[in-house]
Subunit: 217 residues, 2 copies
């Protein structure tokens, strides 16, 4: 679900940079692999493994320095992102370090929320409805407030917060309209009612609540 | 910003359908024009001009019937959408009429919110923040509640509701962090601080509020 614009830019740049968790294959690179020109210079930068706390400043300082060195030498650099760069994307930390000194063009992408909704075939937002997107790392009271104040709610980064989120959804009386989506749009995608979700959820899982139930007609 | 997946599907289908306001060029068709196979059968269906009230049931009944006739005859049909089909998209009304009888695959797309954020270069959501998406057609109290309860807010379909939205943003004390984006990603795109927005806004305009101001670092 990469855009034509992203594919075109990848064919034009001198260097392709991407995040990797040390010791693991970069997911962003795997998604874009078939669109990297033969022999393009690659720059893999390490990002912290922890998903719940603020990422280490030092890791992004180091990545930004390596990218800046290429830019200072007159080379163009593309940074690969999963989903959309500004939607829970770690690219924001690089942008904060680079945008003041260099020209940065951000290419929007399809978010995991869009991919999960498409898979479920349920309308996300229509007419004068409100959609809330919130992280499962938020306090239960904040999740409950989002559930109570919105027609549709996407709760991302479920991981080890699944029990807390389930409790909030149950307290709001919304278990019947809650879906669980694991690894939206990936080969290992799983979709099921939240009531049937496994005991443990990966980081790349989300819960979608559609209060309106049936699609608008 | 069409996806490779959408381009591939367009090359494979028998019929390409798209909405049009009577007497005007279809925006969805214009965006996809260069990806339509030569000689593919086209099906333009009329949609109501009004943007604020619920669309006419009759128009979508008629469009669904015309699409169903092709499907019943064994032909595949692609329906063009602007942005994402499930994100304020009129495709939801067709889906409600067709999904029970036919196999429907929904292809997610880049939303206007993603396109506008990329243009502004401001992070939309990070860490444990909450993002709210709401329509400018909502009551001012609902818009104010979204502004008060979220780190980032996207207010869509501004049109003739600009004065009401400005009043809510001002009441929340957020005028300094509010941006106005007209026709995101189109050739006629305009971006400016909300405080400098024109007196009248088109339907395809939005207001984005980023409370955090500077990007996360």
């Amino acid at each position: 679900m990469i855009t034509l614009k992203a594919v075109r830019l990848l064919s034009e740049v001198d260097v392709v940079a991407y995040p990797q968790v040390p010791g693991r294959e970069s997911l962003a690179r795997r998604i874009a692999a078939s669109h990297l020109p033969d022999g393009v210079e690659e720059l893999a930068f390490d990002v912290p493994m922890s998903v719940d706390r603020a990422p280490g400043q030092a890791a992004y300082d180091a990545a930004a320095s390596r990218i800046a060195a290429h830019l200072d030498a007159g080379r163009s650099v593309a940074v690969l992102c999963e989903g959309d760069p500004l939607f829970y994307g770690s690219f924001m930390y690089l942008n904060a370090r680079l945008a003041g000194r260099f020209s940065v063009e951000i290419v929007p992408g399809v978010t995991s929320v869009g991919a999960a909704s498409a898979r479920l075939g349920k309308g996300l937002i229509a007419r004068d409805e409100r959609l809330s997107v919130i992280s499962a790392t938020s306090p239960e009271a904040d999740i409950l407030a989002a559930l109570n104040g919105s027609a549709s709610v996407a709760i991302l980064k479920v991981g080890r917060h699944l029990a807390k989120v389930k409790a909030a959804v149950s307290a709001a009386g919304l278990m019947d309209v809650a879906s669980y989506v694991e690894r939206a749009s990936m080969a290992e995608e799983h979709v099921m009612p939240l009531s049937q979700a496994p005991e443990t959820a990966p980081y790349f899982s989300m819960i979608l609540i559609h209060k309106r139930g049936a699609a608008w007609s």
